[in-house]
Symmetry: C2
């Protein structure tokens, strides 16, 4: 178990060593660690060495000059200048929030960025201003559209955070694939099979082999197959891709550059870097915030107390498991798998830091 | 087979007989018939008698005085005055579009409305202005949240329409349940079983009985079960519910009034009528429209030509099947099932009209 503070400080030091300005290093560490706190272990410090390798390969700019390349009162398009998504996305969200303060809502699309950590962090940024926050990003292609054998889309997550009054906020944050790649990695480590409906072989046949992606297979869109609505998951992932990248001028679909440094980015890019889409809607642009939040409390209480099937405790509100995990890990620390510990130790050695 | 024009004229006459002003009757007929054209047979003239019965029960106001109750430069909240959603929603979308013209994007939430036909119609309204259109609505509860045995959410659809240049637009329009109720109705008529993952019994057990809803069962959120991501479908349906109703002041969750006149609306409403959420984003609020549409063409061409698994013809772009169906039905006419024909004949008799 590692105390939150220890991992935060370490990540911050690593980002400083990469050449990030102090403010950026702190912000990047905060966004990255939020994943570990919320139990999205695949997106936290487990990725730190990945960011470092991309930086070593010259594919992350530690001192980006982020700029607005296009705007209207309610929108902006941002060029992230190849910076860390962990830094670019929160700043883009700040712009969305300040536009919402002015004209009710703010919508920002971002090009020329990199992986932005968990979408939920960015959506939740809006909560303290009594706004609804929305965050999406595209990602390197792992998911095959319905009927296809090709990996054309990332696991393209959507996050929506909605404030309540007495209750904790509603925070949905999910990949638009049946299961995110992180879940497969867990099965791989445990040498377990994957459920039918998560992956397919390279010929497009159903598979339970958790290593199928390494053999040319693909993840499946939410829904799994056509009968169970995979065309809906495919549509959702496509919408995320288009809002994040076609709207901003980033790479889309199969052109999205890989997160890993050992795979080269496509030689024929259709845009710059990866793309994000961020939105903020002021509650009182629609209805007095107190009134809304009182009804959100009622919504949450009503759903939480709905009757459950045998064997289940209660209906969960989106964000419940992650909030409980955060409370637990802030108290008891963050567990790391041995390979992740080794990774961090190697980084400590590389940069002459103490873990 | 019925020519489009014949059914359009008939629907328009029926709405006139209900007391709708001529402009409204025409608009309502157009929205309603769009469902029949696009092959969403459950939402077209098959519902005409349902609207009439709700009007007879005093639950639809044929002469609504729709008004903006709250607004900012990029948002508005509309009171639909109990009117037909078929009329209120397009007018609300017009407001979203005109706000987008002014400040880049427009977002309108609607309360005190009724069923608005297919979501896709409203989203597509934005296309001719080179905007992305978004439409959602809540609906009467048929779907159980993950782990629950209770029907708490409607099949709450999401539609997103995105313009291209040479290619037809991208038009996603889907229920956030595994399968919309209309698909179950088809199986019921054919006395066929439903696939596992669409419905559950009233105890929350998996079922293939297409009549399960009549026995207290529930539809399942997109994903089907927790393993396959039903918590994502549940989150999506919840977001639609909250944006459409908690934001506007309509009824939400289990309080959404039923579409059928033989079931009473809840005696303890938490808002007024049902709710919709409509959005329009001007493409050139982010990027020159020509540039965007050229990339959308490339996006569409790339996905359409992705390799397919054995037995499939090609990857479809959201909106393809509905567009082909529209072309076919405009040429060859719209087929109606016998019970729907009977329904229309009864309406003709009731209002002394010719079908």
């Amino acid at each position: 178990m590692y105390p939150y503070r220890q991992l935060f400080d370490f990540a911050q030091e690593v980002f400083l060593c990469m050449g990030c300005p102090p403010k950026d290093a702190k912000l990047a560490a905060e966004v990255l660690l939020e994943a570990d706190l919320r139990g999205v272990d695949s997106h936290g410090v487990a990725r730190l060495s990945g960011y470092v390798r991309l930086w070593e390969a010259g594919r992350i700019n530690p001192k980006p000059k982020m700029r607005i390349v296009h705007e209207t009162p309610s929108t902006a398009t941002i060029d992230g200048d190849g910076g860390l998504g962990l830094v670019i996305a929160p700043r883009a969200m700040d712009i969305a929030i300040s536009k919402a303060e002015q004209v009710g809502t703010g919508w920002v699309t971002v090009k020329n960025s990199n992986h932005f950590g968990i979408a939920g962090y960015h959506a939740m940024e809006a909560l303290s201003s009594d706004m609804i926050g929305i965050a999406m990003t595209n990602a390197s292609p792992l998911v095959a559209p319905t009927f296809s054998t090709e990996r054309m889309l990332g696991t393209n997550p959507i996050a929506v955070a909605i404030p309540a009054a007495k209750n904790p906020p509603f925070v949905a944050d999910f990949a638009t694939a049946s299961a995110a790649n992180g879940k497969l990695e867990i099965l791989q480590r445990k040498e377990k099979k994957a459920p039918v409906g998560w992956i397919q072989t390279k010929e497009g046949q159903r598979s339970t082999n958790a290593n199928e992606l390494k053999e040319g297979g693909a993840l499946l869109p939410l829904g799994g197959d056509k009968t169970h609505g995979s065309h809906k998951g495919y549509a959702l992932a496509s919408i995320v891709d288009i809002f994040s990248a076609v709207l901003s001028g980033a790479n889309y679909g199969p052109w999205v550059p890989p997160f890993v440094s050992f795979l080269d980015p496509p030689s024929d890019p259709v845009g710059e870097g990866i793309g994000h889409f961020l939105g903020a809607m002021r509650i009182d642009a629609f209805r007095p915030a107190d009134e809304f939040k009182k009804h959100m409390d009622n919504w949450i209480d009503t759903f939480r107390s709905a009757s459950v099937k045998k064997g289940e405790k209660s209906v969960l509100i989106p964000g419940d498991p992650e909030r409980l995990m955060t409370e637990k890990r802030l108290k008891k620390g963050i567990p790391l798998l041995t390979p992740v510990e080794r990774d961090l130790e190697a980084l400590a050695k590389r940069f002459k830091l103490k873990l």
